[in-house]
Protein backbone atom coordinates (compact mmCIF):
# COMPACT_ATOMS: atom_id res chain seq x y z
CA UNK A 1 0.00 0.00 0.00
CA UNK A 2 1.06 3.52 -0.64
CA UNK A 3 2.95 5.19 2.13
CA UNK A 4 1.88 8.81 2.51
CA UNK A 5 5.18 10.04 3.93
CA UNK A 6 7.01 8.23 1.14
CA UNK A 7 4.74 9.73 -1.47
CA UNK A 8 5.29 13.19 -0.07
CA UNK A 9 9.06 12.72 -0.13
CA UNK A 10 8.81 11.39 -3.67
CA UNK A 11 6.81 14.45 -4.72
CA UNK A 12 9.45 16.72 -3.22
CA UNK A 13 12.08 14.73 -5.11
CA UNK A 14 10.12 15.20 -8.33
CA UNK A 15 9.72 18.93 -7.73
CA UNK A 16 13.30 19.65 -6.81
CA UNK A 17 14.80 16.98 -9.04
CA UNK A 18 14.00 19.21 -12.01
CA UNK A 19 12.13 16.45 -13.83
CA UNK A 20 11.55 17.99 -17.28
CA UNK A 21 8.62 15.65 -18.08
CA UNK A 22 6.86 16.69 -14.90
CA UNK A 23 7.32 20.38 -15.52
CA UNK A 24 6.03 20.00 -19.07
CA UNK A 25 2.87 18.36 -17.69
CA UNK A 26 2.50 21.08 -15.05
CA UNK A 27 2.88 23.70 -17.78
CA UNK A 28 0.17 22.12 -19.96
CA UNK A 29 -2.12 21.86 -16.93
CA UNK A 30 -1.67 25.50 -16.04
CA UNK A 31 -1.96 26.67 -19.62
CA UNK A 32 -5.20 24.79 -20.20
CA UNK A 33 -6.86 25.64 -16.89
CA UNK A 34 -5.78 29.27 -16.71
CA UNK A 35 -6.90 29.88 -20.29
CA UNK A 36 -10.23 28.19 -19.61
CA UNK A 37 -10.72 30.27 -16.47
CA UNK A 38 -9.78 33.48 -18.28
CA UNK A 39 -12.41 32.87 -20.95
CA UNK A 40 -14.91 31.77 -18.31
CA UNK A 41 -14.40 35.09 -16.52
CA UNK A 42 -14.67 37.06 -19.74
CA UNK A 43 -18.03 35.48 -20.49
CA UNK A 44 -19.29 34.39 -17.06
CA UNK A 45 -18.73 37.63 -15.18
CA UNK A 46 -20.78 39.88 -17.48
CA UNK A 47 -23.50 37.22 -17.62
CA UNK A 48 -23.55 36.87 -13.83
CA UNK A 49 -23.60 40.64 -13.38
CA UNK A 50 -26.32 41.01 -15.98
CA UNK A 51 -28.49 38.47 -14.15
CA UNK A 52 -27.79 40.31 -10.90
CA UNK A 53 -28.92 43.74 -12.11
CA UNK A 54 -31.43 42.81 -14.78
CA UNK A 55 -35.20 42.89 -14.34
CA UNK A 56 -36.65 40.46 -16.82
CA UNK A 57 -39.10 37.61 -17.03
CA UNK A 58 -37.59 34.29 -16.02
CA UNK A 59 -34.77 35.80 -13.98
CA UNK A 60 -35.46 33.56 -10.95
CA UNK A 61 -35.50 30.52 -13.17
CA UNK A 62 -32.24 31.58 -14.80
CA UNK A 63 -30.58 31.95 -11.39
CA UNK A 64 -31.71 28.46 -10.40
CA UNK A 65 -30.44 27.11 -13.73
CA UNK A 66 -27.02 28.74 -13.46
CA UNK A 67 -26.64 27.59 -9.86
CA UNK A 68 -27.54 24.06 -10.92
CA UNK A 69 -25.03 24.16 -13.79
CA UNK A 70 -22.26 24.67 -11.20
CA UNK A 71 -22.61 20.95 -10.62
CA UNK A 72 -22.22 19.89 -14.26
CA UNK A 73 -20.67 16.42 -14.33
CA UNK A 74 -17.26 16.67 -16.06
CA UNK A 75 -17.68 13.31 -17.77
CA UNK A 76 -20.93 14.42 -19.37
CA UNK A 77 -19.39 17.70 -20.49
CA UNK A 78 -16.44 15.74 -21.88
CA UNK A 79 -18.76 13.43 -23.75
CA UNK A 80 -20.81 16.27 -25.22
CA UNK A 81 -17.69 18.19 -26.26
CA UNK A 82 -16.27 14.97 -27.76
CA UNK A 83 -19.45 14.44 -29.79
CA UNK A 84 -19.32 18.06 -30.96
CA UNK A 85 -15.65 18.03 -31.90
CA UNK A 86 -15.48 14.49 -33.25
CA UNK A 87 -14.86 14.22 -36.95
CA UNK A 88 -18.39 12.83 -37.14
CA UNK A 89 -19.70 15.75 -35.10
CA UNK A 90 -20.88 19.20 -36.18
CA UNK A 91 -17.60 20.92 -35.27
CA UNK A 92 -15.32 18.19 -36.60
CA UNK A 93 -14.02 20.48 -39.32
CA UNK A 94 -12.26 22.56 -36.68
CA UNK A 95 -9.94 19.58 -36.01
CA UNK A 96 -9.80 20.39 -32.31
CA UNK A 97 -10.31 16.94 -30.80
CA UNK A 98 -7.30 15.65 -28.84
CA UNK A 99 -5.76 19.13 -28.63
CA UNK A 100 -5.33 21.45 -25.63
CA UNK A 101 -7.96 23.69 -27.23
CA UNK A 102 -10.55 20.96 -26.80
CA UNK A 103 -9.63 20.67 -23.14
CA UNK A 104 -9.87 24.44 -22.74
CA UNK A 105 -13.33 24.34 -24.30
CA UNK A 106 -14.50 21.56 -21.97
CA UNK A 107 -13.15 23.27 -18.87
CA UNK A 108 -14.58 26.58 -20.05
CA UNK A 109 -18.02 24.97 -20.12
CA UNK A 110 -17.50 23.55 -16.62
CA UNK A 111 -16.15 26.75 -15.11
CA UNK A 112 -18.35 29.44 -16.68
CA UNK A 113 -21.46 28.60 -14.62
CA UNK A 114 -19.39 28.69 -11.44
CA UNK A 115 -17.96 32.10 -12.28
CA UNK A 116 -21.37 33.39 -13.41
CA UNK A 117 -23.22 32.15 -10.33
CA UNK A 118 -20.67 33.50 -7.85
CA UNK A 119 -20.45 36.79 -9.75
CA UNK A 120 -24.23 37.05 -9.64
CA UNK A 121 -24.16 36.80 -5.84
CA UNK A 122 -21.35 39.31 -5.41
CA UNK A 123 -22.82 41.84 -7.84
CA UNK A 124 -26.35 41.49 -6.50
CA UNK A 125 -25.16 42.37 -2.99
CA UNK A 126 -23.14 45.29 -4.30
CA UNK A 127 -26.00 46.47 -6.49
CA UNK A 128 -28.34 46.63 -3.49
CA UNK A 129 -25.98 49.27 -2.15
CA UNK A 130 -25.18 51.03 -5.43
CA UNK A 131 -28.38 50.89 -7.49
CA UNK A 132 -29.98 54.19 -6.38
CA UNK A 133 -26.71 56.10 -6.65
CA UNK A 134 -25.98 54.69 -10.10
CA UNK A 135 -29.48 55.45 -11.36
CA UNK A 136 -29.12 58.94 -9.88
CA UNK A 137 -25.94 59.43 -11.88
CA UNK A 138 -27.84 58.37 -14.97
CA UNK A 139 -26.13 54.99 -15.36
CA UNK A 140 -28.59 52.41 -16.67
CA UNK A 141 -28.73 48.88 -15.27
CA UNK A 142 -26.87 47.39 -18.22
CA UNK A 143 -24.24 50.10 -18.25
CA UNK A 144 -23.64 49.73 -14.54
CA UNK A 145 -22.30 46.18 -15.09
CA UNK A 146 -18.64 47.18 -15.70
CA UNK A 147 -18.70 49.52 -12.70
CA UNK A 148 -20.20 46.86 -10.45
CA UNK A 149 -17.69 44.25 -11.64
CA UNK A 150 -14.80 46.63 -11.04
CA UNK A 151 -15.99 47.67 -7.60
CA UNK A 152 -16.62 44.01 -6.72
CA UNK A 153 -13.17 42.98 -7.89
CA UNK A 154 -11.88 41.84 -4.52
CA UNK A 155 -14.91 39.72 -3.76
CA UNK A 156 -14.79 38.36 -7.32
CA UNK A 157 -11.34 36.83 -6.86
CA UNK A 158 -13.16 34.09 -4.94
CA UNK A 159 -15.19 33.34 -8.05
CA UNK A 160 -12.03 33.16 -10.15
CA UNK A 161 -10.30 30.84 -7.69
CA UNK A 162 -13.35 28.60 -7.35
CA UNK A 163 -13.38 28.29 -11.13
CA UNK A 164 -9.67 27.57 -11.27
CA UNK A 165 -9.99 24.94 -8.55
CA UNK A 166 -12.67 23.20 -10.53
CA UNK A 167 -10.66 23.33 -13.78
CA UNK A 168 -7.29 22.19 -12.47
CA UNK A 169 -8.75 19.29 -10.47
CA UNK A 170 -11.08 17.97 -13.14
CA UNK A 171 -10.18 14.74 -14.94
CA UNK A 172 -13.34 13.34 -16.53
CA UNK A 173 -13.73 15.89 -19.30
CA UNK A 174 -10.10 16.41 -20.30
CA UNK A 175 -9.50 12.65 -20.41
CA UNK A 176 -12.20 12.21 -23.05
CA UNK A 177 -11.59 15.27 -25.21
CA UNK A 178 -7.83 15.48 -24.73
CA UNK A 179 -7.11 11.77 -25.03
CA UNK A 180 -4.29 11.96 -22.45
CA UNK A 181 -1.72 12.11 -25.26
CA UNK A 182 1.81 12.28 -23.94
CA UNK A 183 3.43 15.73 -24.39
CA UNK A 184 0.28 17.10 -26.03
CA UNK A 185 -2.78 16.77 -23.84
CA UNK A 186 -1.46 14.99 -20.77
CA UNK A 187 -2.18 17.07 -17.69
CA UNK A 188 -1.70 16.45 -13.98
CA UNK A 189 -5.05 14.79 -13.38
CA UNK A 190 -4.86 12.47 -16.38
CA UNK A 191 -1.28 11.58 -15.46
CA UNK A 192 -2.45 10.65 -11.99
CA UNK A 193 -5.22 8.53 -13.48
CA UNK A 194 -2.72 6.86 -15.81
CA UNK A 195 -0.17 6.10 -13.10
CA UNK A 196 -2.94 4.76 -10.88
CA UNK A 197 -4.01 2.42 -13.67
CA UNK A 198 -0.42 1.29 -14.06
CA UNK A 199 -0.46 0.43 -10.39
CA UNK A 200 2.18 3.04 -9.58
CA UNK A 201 0.20 4.25 -6.62
CA UNK A 202 2.96 6.07 -4.79
CA UNK A 203 3.96 7.97 -7.95
CA UNK A 204 0.30 8.83 -8.49
CA UNK A 205 0.04 10.08 -4.92
CA UNK A 206 3.23 12.11 -5.32
CA UNK A 207 1.76 13.72 -8.44
CA UNK A 208 -1.41 14.38 -6.49
CA UNK A 209 0.64 16.16 -3.86
CA UNK A 210 2.17 18.33 -6.56
CA UNK A 211 -1.29 19.11 -7.93
CA UNK A 212 -2.38 20.24 -4.48
CA UNK A 213 0.78 22.34 -4.16
CA UNK A 214 -0.02 23.91 -7.53
CA UNK A 215 -3.47 24.86 -6.30
CA UNK A 216 -1.92 26.31 -3.15
CA UNK A 217 0.61 28.28 -5.19
CA UNK A 218 -2.00 29.82 -7.45
CA UNK A 219 -4.22 30.69 -4.49
CA UNK A 220 -1.32 32.19 -2.59
CA UNK A 221 -0.27 34.23 -5.63
CA UNK A 222 -3.78 35.61 -5.98
CA UNK A 223 -3.94 36.38 -2.26
CA UNK A 224 -0.65 38.28 -2.50
CA UNK A 225 -1.77 40.25 -5.55
CA UNK A 226 -5.04 40.93 -3.80
CA UNK A 227 -3.47 42.35 -0.66
CA UNK A 228 -0.95 44.32 -2.71
CA UNK A 229 -3.67 45.98 -4.75
CA UNK A 230 -5.76 46.58 -1.62
CA UNK A 231 -2.80 48.41 -0.16
CA UNK A 232 -2.72 50.66 -3.20
CA UNK A 233 -6.45 51.27 -3.30
CA UNK A 234 -6.89 51.17 0.52
CA UNK A 235 -10.24 49.50 0.43
Amino acid sequence: MADFAGAFLQSLGLIFGGDAELWAIVAISLKVSLTAVAFACLIGMPIGAWIAVGRFRGRRGLIVAVNALMGLPPVVVGLVVYLMLSNSGPLGVLQLLYTPSAMILAQFILVTPIVAALTRQVVETLNDEYADQLRSLGVSRLRSVPALLWDGRFALTTAVLAGFGRAIAEVGAVMIVGGNINHVTRVMTTTIALETSKGNLSLALALGTILILMAFTVNAAVALLDSASRRVIHV
Binding site: S136, G138, D151
Partner: protein, 257 residues
Amino acid sequence: MFDRGISSGFQSDETAACSGDAALLSVSGLVFEIAGKTLLQIQSLDIPAGGTTVIMGPNGAGKSLLLRLMHGLLPASQGSIRMTGKPLTAALCRRQAMVFQSPVILRRSVRANVEFALAANGVPWRSRRKRALEVLSATGLGNKAKQAARSLSGGEQQKLAVVRALATEPEILFLDEPTSNLDPASVLAIERLLRAASAAGTKVVLVTHDLGQARRLGDEVLFLHRGQVVEQTPMKRFVDAPVSTEAAAYVSGELLV
Protein backbone atom coordinates in the same frame (compact mmCIF):
# COMPACT_ATOMS: atom_id res chain seq x y z
CA MET B 1 -35.87 47.09 -19.43
CA PHE B 2 -32.81 48.95 -18.30
CA ASP B 3 -34.32 52.38 -18.43
CA ARG B 4 -34.68 54.57 -15.43
CA GLY B 5 -38.27 53.48 -15.13
CA ILE B 6 -39.75 56.92 -15.18
CA SER B 7 -41.56 56.98 -18.44
CA SER B 8 -44.72 55.22 -17.33
CA GLY B 9 -46.55 57.47 -14.90
CA PHE B 10 -45.27 60.90 -15.65
CA GLN B 11 -46.80 61.91 -18.90
CA SER B 12 -50.33 60.74 -18.33
CA ASP B 13 -51.79 64.08 -17.37
CA GLU B 14 -50.76 66.46 -20.11
CA THR B 15 -53.37 69.11 -19.40
CA ALA B 16 -52.66 69.57 -15.71
CA ALA B 17 -49.37 71.42 -15.90
CA CYS B 18 -49.07 74.78 -17.51
CA SER B 19 -45.81 75.14 -19.34
CA GLY B 20 -44.04 78.45 -19.43
CA ASP B 21 -44.50 78.64 -15.67
CA ALA B 22 -41.69 80.10 -13.55
CA ALA B 23 -41.61 76.85 -11.55
CA LEU B 24 -38.48 74.72 -12.00
CA LEU B 25 -40.36 71.63 -10.92
CA SER B 26 -44.10 71.32 -11.05
CA VAL B 27 -46.06 68.38 -9.73
CA SER B 28 -49.70 67.78 -10.51
CA GLY B 29 -52.14 65.06 -9.61
CA LEU B 30 -49.28 62.97 -8.25
CA VAL B 31 -50.19 59.69 -6.56
CA PHE B 32 -47.79 57.01 -5.41
CA GLU B 33 -49.17 53.79 -4.09
CA ILE B 34 -47.83 50.38 -3.24
CA ALA B 35 -50.12 47.36 -2.91
CA GLY B 36 -53.21 49.57 -2.91
CA LYS B 37 -51.88 51.77 -0.13
CA THR B 38 -51.47 55.44 -1.03
CA LEU B 39 -48.19 56.74 0.34
CA LEU B 40 -48.12 60.11 -1.41
CA GLN B 41 -50.84 62.25 -2.91
CA ILE B 42 -50.06 65.77 -4.15
CA GLN B 43 -52.69 67.68 -6.11
CA SER B 44 -50.42 70.51 -7.18
CA LEU B 45 -46.96 71.66 -6.19
CA ASP B 46 -44.51 74.13 -7.73
CA ILE B 47 -40.89 74.34 -6.68
CA PRO B 48 -39.45 77.69 -7.79
CA ALA B 49 -36.09 78.09 -9.48
CA GLY B 50 -33.32 79.47 -7.32
CA GLY B 51 -32.73 79.32 -3.59
CA THR B 52 -33.07 76.37 -1.26
CA THR B 53 -36.30 74.52 -0.64
CA VAL B 54 -36.36 72.53 2.59
CA ILE B 55 -38.73 69.61 2.88
CA MET B 56 -39.74 68.83 6.43
CA GLY B 57 -42.23 66.63 8.17
CA PRO B 58 -42.38 63.66 10.54
CA ASN B 59 -41.09 60.23 9.57
CA GLY B 60 -43.26 58.51 7.04
CA ALA B 61 -44.65 61.78 5.71
CA GLY B 62 -43.29 60.94 2.25
CA LYS B 63 -40.33 63.32 2.07
CA SER B 64 -37.78 60.86 0.67
CA LEU B 65 -40.44 59.41 -1.58
CA LEU B 66 -41.12 62.84 -3.08
CA LEU B 67 -37.39 63.37 -3.69
CA ARG B 68 -37.09 60.01 -5.44
CA LEU B 69 -40.14 60.68 -7.58
CA MET B 70 -38.86 64.11 -8.60
CA HIS B 71 -35.43 62.60 -9.35
CA GLY B 72 -36.90 59.86 -11.47
CA LEU B 73 -35.75 56.99 -9.26
CA LEU B 74 -39.34 55.80 -8.85
CA PRO B 75 -42.27 55.84 -11.28
CA ALA B 76 -45.40 57.58 -10.08
CA SER B 77 -48.67 55.64 -10.00
CA GLN B 78 -50.56 58.63 -11.38
CA GLY B 79 -49.96 62.27 -12.21
CA SER B 80 -47.10 64.15 -13.75
CA ILE B 81 -43.86 65.80 -12.80
CA ARG B 82 -42.45 68.47 -15.05
CA MET B 83 -39.10 70.13 -15.08
CA THR B 84 -38.97 73.57 -16.74
CA GLY B 85 -42.35 72.75 -18.21
CA LYS B 86 -41.35 69.49 -19.84
CA PRO B 87 -42.27 66.00 -18.70
CA LEU B 88 -39.41 64.45 -16.75
CA THR B 89 -37.20 62.29 -18.94
CA ALA B 90 -33.94 60.43 -18.38
CA ALA B 91 -32.10 63.32 -20.04
CA LEU B 92 -33.73 65.86 -17.72
CA CYS B 93 -32.96 63.68 -14.69
CA ARG B 94 -29.31 63.78 -15.68
CA ARG B 95 -29.48 67.55 -15.09
CA GLN B 96 -30.32 66.75 -11.50
CA ALA B 97 -28.18 65.13 -8.82
CA MET B 98 -28.89 63.48 -5.52
CA VAL B 99 -27.08 62.86 -2.24
CA PHE B 100 -28.37 60.06 -0.04
CA GLN B 101 -28.57 59.85 3.73
CA SER B 102 -25.72 57.35 3.89
CA PRO B 103 -23.24 58.16 1.15
CA VAL B 104 -22.72 55.54 -1.56
CA ILE B 105 -18.98 55.77 -2.11
CA LEU B 106 -17.48 53.66 -4.88
CA ARG B 107 -14.59 51.35 -3.98
CA ARG B 108 -12.05 53.50 -5.76
CA SER B 109 -9.95 56.55 -5.08
CA VAL B 110 -11.50 59.90 -4.18
CA ARG B 111 -10.64 61.25 -7.61
CA ALA B 112 -12.07 58.20 -9.39
CA ASN B 113 -15.36 58.73 -7.57
CA VAL B 114 -15.66 62.18 -9.08
CA GLU B 115 -14.40 60.97 -12.46
CA PHE B 116 -17.09 58.30 -12.47
CA ALA B 117 -19.84 60.90 -12.05
CA LEU B 118 -18.28 63.01 -14.81
CA ALA B 119 -18.09 59.99 -17.11
CA ALA B 120 -21.73 59.12 -16.45
CA ASN B 121 -22.56 62.72 -17.34
CA GLY B 122 -20.81 62.44 -20.67
CA VAL B 123 -17.65 64.38 -19.91
CA PRO B 124 -14.96 63.12 -22.33
CA TRP B 125 -12.25 61.09 -20.63
CA ARG B 126 -9.45 63.49 -21.58
CA SER B 127 -10.84 66.30 -19.45
CA ARG B 128 -12.23 64.17 -16.62
CA ARG B 129 -9.12 63.95 -14.48
CA LYS B 130 -8.41 67.66 -14.75
CA ARG B 131 -11.95 68.61 -13.85
CA ALA B 132 -12.09 66.15 -10.98
CA LEU B 133 -8.90 67.57 -9.52
CA GLU B 134 -10.19 71.12 -9.94
CA VAL B 135 -13.42 70.29 -8.15
CA LEU B 136 -11.59 68.48 -5.36
CA SER B 137 -9.05 71.24 -4.73
CA ALA B 138 -11.79 73.86 -4.76
CA THR B 139 -13.55 71.97 -1.97
CA GLY B 140 -10.52 71.14 0.14
CA LEU B 141 -10.33 67.46 -0.85
CA GLY B 142 -7.45 67.98 -3.30
CA ASN B 143 -4.82 66.47 -1.03
CA LYS B 144 -6.94 63.32 -0.67
CA ALA B 145 -7.52 62.78 -4.38
CA LYS B 146 -5.44 59.61 -4.56
CA GLN B 147 -6.65 58.17 -1.29
CA ALA B 148 -9.11 55.29 -1.24
CA ALA B 149 -12.48 56.95 -0.88
CA ARG B 150 -13.72 54.36 1.59
CA SER B 151 -10.85 55.14 3.95
CA LEU B 152 -12.22 58.65 4.50
CA SER B 153 -14.16 59.44 7.70
CA GLY B 154 -17.95 59.38 7.56
CA GLY B 155 -18.10 63.17 7.36
CA GLU B 156 -15.52 63.31 4.58
CA GLN B 157 -17.35 60.58 2.67
CA GLN B 158 -20.58 62.57 2.77
CA LYS B 159 -18.67 65.68 1.75
CA LEU B 160 -17.23 63.72 -1.18
CA ALA B 161 -20.74 62.58 -2.10
CA VAL B 162 -21.87 66.23 -2.22
CA VAL B 163 -18.78 67.28 -4.19
CA ARG B 164 -19.31 64.39 -6.59
CA ALA B 165 -22.96 65.36 -7.06
CA LEU B 166 -22.00 68.98 -7.71
CA ALA B 167 -19.15 68.10 -10.06
CA THR B 168 -21.58 67.64 -12.93
CA GLU B 169 -23.00 71.13 -12.30
CA PRO B 170 -26.61 69.99 -11.91
CA GLU B 171 -29.52 72.39 -12.15
CA ILE B 172 -31.16 70.75 -9.16
CA LEU B 173 -29.44 69.06 -6.21
CA PHE B 174 -31.60 66.82 -4.04
CA LEU B 175 -30.31 65.89 -0.60
CA ASP B 176 -31.99 63.35 1.66
CA GLU B 177 -31.00 64.11 5.27
CA PRO B 178 -27.34 64.38 4.26
CA THR B 179 -26.02 65.42 7.68
CA SER B 180 -28.21 63.42 10.03
CA ASN B 181 -25.38 61.23 11.32
CA LEU B 182 -22.50 63.69 11.16
CA ASP B 183 -20.40 65.68 13.63
CA PRO B 184 -20.86 69.48 13.71
CA ALA B 185 -17.63 70.21 11.82
CA SER B 186 -18.71 67.98 8.93
CA VAL B 187 -22.19 69.49 8.99
CA LEU B 188 -20.64 72.92 8.73
CA ALA B 189 -18.45 71.89 5.79
CA ILE B 190 -21.41 70.46 3.93
CA GLU B 191 -23.64 73.44 4.63
CA ARG B 192 -20.90 75.69 3.21
CA LEU B 193 -20.88 73.62 0.03
CA LEU B 194 -24.65 73.86 -0.26
CA ARG B 195 -24.68 77.61 0.30
CA ALA B 196 -22.00 78.05 -2.36
CA ALA B 197 -23.92 75.83 -4.78
CA SER B 198 -27.09 77.74 -4.21
CA ALA B 199 -25.26 81.03 -4.72
CA ALA B 200 -23.88 79.67 -7.97
CA GLY B 201 -27.39 79.05 -9.22
CA THR B 202 -28.03 75.41 -8.38
CA LYS B 203 -31.46 74.77 -6.99
CA VAL B 204 -31.06 72.91 -3.66
CA VAL B 205 -33.89 70.72 -2.42
CA LEU B 206 -33.06 69.42 1.03
CA VAL B 207 -34.88 66.99 3.30
CA THR B 208 -33.94 67.51 6.93
CA HIS B 209 -35.27 67.01 10.44
CA ASP B 210 -32.95 69.68 11.80
CA LEU B 211 -34.93 72.89 12.26
CA GLY B 212 -31.68 74.81 12.84
CA GLN B 213 -30.28 73.60 9.54
CA ALA B 214 -33.53 74.48 7.82
CA ARG B 215 -33.30 78.02 9.17
CA ARG B 216 -29.66 78.34 8.20
CA LEU B 217 -30.13 77.15 4.62
CA GLY B 218 -33.76 77.35 3.63
CA ASP B 219 -35.55 80.02 1.65
CA GLU B 220 -38.85 78.21 1.74
CA VAL B 221 -40.28 75.18 3.49
CA LEU B 222 -42.42 72.41 2.14
CA PHE B 223 -44.14 70.64 5.01
CA LEU B 224 -45.43 67.13 4.40
CA HIS B 225 -47.69 65.11 6.64
CA ARG B 226 -49.13 61.68 5.93
CA GLY B 227 -48.30 61.84 2.27
CA GLN B 228 -49.73 65.29 1.62
CA VAL B 229 -48.33 68.78 1.34
CA VAL B 230 -49.89 70.69 4.20
CA GLU B 231 -47.87 73.87 3.89
CA GLN B 232 -45.48 75.64 1.51
CA THR B 233 -44.29 78.92 2.96
CA PRO B 234 -41.22 81.14 3.08
CA MET B 235 -38.74 80.12 5.77
CA LYS B 236 -39.28 83.09 8.04
CA ARG B 237 -43.02 82.72 8.06
CA PHE B 238 -42.76 78.97 8.71
CA VAL B 239 -40.73 79.55 11.85
CA ASP B 240 -42.67 82.54 13.13
CA ALA B 241 -46.23 81.69 12.21
CA PRO B 242 -46.85 78.39 10.45
CA VAL B 243 -50.19 78.22 8.68
CA SER B 244 -51.08 74.60 9.31
CA THR B 245 -51.72 73.14 12.74
CA GLU B 246 -49.37 70.25 11.91
CA ALA B 247 -46.46 72.55 11.08
CA ALA B 248 -47.20 74.68 14.13
CA ALA B 249 -47.09 71.61 16.32
CA TYR B 250 -43.86 70.45 14.67
CA VAL B 251 -42.13 73.82 15.04
CA SER B 252 -43.17 74.15 18.64
CA GLY B 253 -41.49 70.85 19.38
CA GLU B 254 -44.54 68.63 19.83
CA LEU B 255 -44.25 65.02 18.80
CA LEU B 256 -46.09 64.82 15.53
CA VAL B 257 -46.74 61.39 14.10
